[in-house]
Amino acid sequence: MNRFLVFCYGLLMSVNVQASFWPEELQTHGFLTQNFFHTSDNNVYGQSDDGISPGLTEIGLNLSYQPFSRLTLSAQGLYRRAGKVDGGNVRLDYGVADLNIFNYQNGRIGIRGGRIKIPFGLYSETRDVAFTNPSIILPQGIYFDRSRSLLVSADGGSLYAEHRTEYGDLSFKFNLGMPLGDNEEIRSAILGPAALGKFEASPAFATQLSYELNGGETVFAVSYMNLKLKYHPSAGDFISAGNTSIRPLLFSAQYNGEKLGLTAEYLYRWNSYKDYGVMPDFQFVSESWYLQGSYRFLPQVQGIVRYDTFSSDINDRGGQRSVSNGLPNHIAYAKDWMLGVRWDITSSLMVRTEYHRVHGTAWLAQADNQDQSKTKQDWDLYALQLSYRF
């Protein structure tokens, strides 16, 4: 961690010193975010119950270089520390070669290769960049933090196309790649706390079609992914080598006005579990949606309110199956009312705070809440965020 900070600092200094020699084709940007959490019950990002947890830190630094007019190389390093889920490590968030194949007056077509951000909904591609997010905690029914590694980036290729018309701009992305799938939280989310083995992801595709009016004042998007995970039991595991397929379909709509912002997203997700031995093969559908409104009272001050709901199985909204597995029923759902204020002190410094009233525990991380039977159904969450960018 310290070495990474020293590295960042050194790089920043060298950017400052060499500003006049820095070619315009080379751009660098970054961010540093520290979050604090307090909860009435249950833990988020560390020990937040009966205390304040500073357990979520995000530091990013990216470089973008254009050696030729049609080729752009860009990479972002991300340090992230998230409670007991992620003890803190630096990794390559994306590393992309972007080749602009075909340009015409109303659009362009190109390909990208490398480690590519997954286009899913309105926020996935920049989900760790506080300045681009509407709130400290993104709507968790769609932008799960616990099993985020499936949604962050994938190693592979992407085809993109953009077409502009008098009546709005169309943009299409098709990504094929290997998501970063192995993660204990994914295992816990799929098989519960007792599983011991590892999940391995297969190449998956993610695609998105979006339609924007007036330079992004109004946005509509449809995103779809097809994720496949294979389970490798460890020695002594009572679960056999099964397969899980997860196929989320997400509809997004957004209005970004001068002062008023309105956002809605609806997720419909097909899940299929096969060959796990201990449990019969079964298929179920998860559902989530949220409505979000924001208002810019002053150019630098924004208020936000949101209602977000998630059901892990639309045929078992009350969580009866969880009870029969010896887990609390409220692990099957979460309804979250959120209220927040954001203050952009300068264009590169931002502070915000928010309050959540949550009913249900579906998106709590297993690592932060070891004994799920002790989690509480109704709880409050307070969060504070400080973020710097350049």
């Binding site: 953009e162 330079g215 970004n256």
Partner: protein, 168 residues
């Protein structure tokens, strides 16, 4: 005697001070009136918003652009001029009054909407942001000295290396 004399001087001095102050206050009121009237005249009779001009380097092979094109250029979606040369986009910092006026009058957008578009590209590895400058003078210098550059100014440039790009 001496005392009366000095008291007289003191009184006349104080009288002068008071009179001068009153006069000053009166002048202030008069000039304030002019300011208020002038301001109202400006608000009601001076068309607001014509104070932004899209400018390009003389090398740019385009004379006029539509709203859609100019938006595509400043949101970094259109990266090349029709002749194939890469467009060099310059912009001022978000809080600069000229940037706000430009976004509103020429793009029919707000600075936070542009910021959203650029940030999404910059932090997802899908594009680059325009080069951001601090002052209008810097903008003038950059557009004048960078081939295929585009930017904006608050007045007609008196520099032969720069010309105005008109709305189609």
């Amino acid at each position: 005697m001496k005392g009366t004399f000095s008291l007289n001087i003191l009184f006349s001095y104080l009288r002068n001070v008071v009179l001068q102050n009153l006069l000053f206050e009166f002048k202030k009121i008069i000039s304030l009136k002019f300011v208020v009237v002038g301001f109202l005249l400006c608000v009601f009779f001076v068309p607001v918003g014509n104070a932004t001009e899209i400018v390009v380097n003389q090398s740019v092979p385009v004379q006029a652009v539509s709203l859609n094109k100019i938006r595509a250029i400043f949101t970094m979606h259109q990266r090349f001029w029709p002749s194939g040369e890469q467009i060099k986009v310059f912009t001022l910092v978000d809080k600069h009054p000229l940037h706000k006026a430009f976004a509103k009058n020429k793009l029919h957008m707000f600075p936070h909407q542009l910021r959203r578009v650029w940030d999404r590209m910059v932090f997802s590895g899908t594009g680059q942001a325009p080069v951001t400058l601090e002052s209008e003078q810097e903008m003038l210098d950059k557009v004048a000295n960078t081939p295929y550059a585009i930017g904006y100014l608050s007045r007609e440039p008196d520099n032969e290396k720069i010309r105005i790009l008109v709305n189609e």
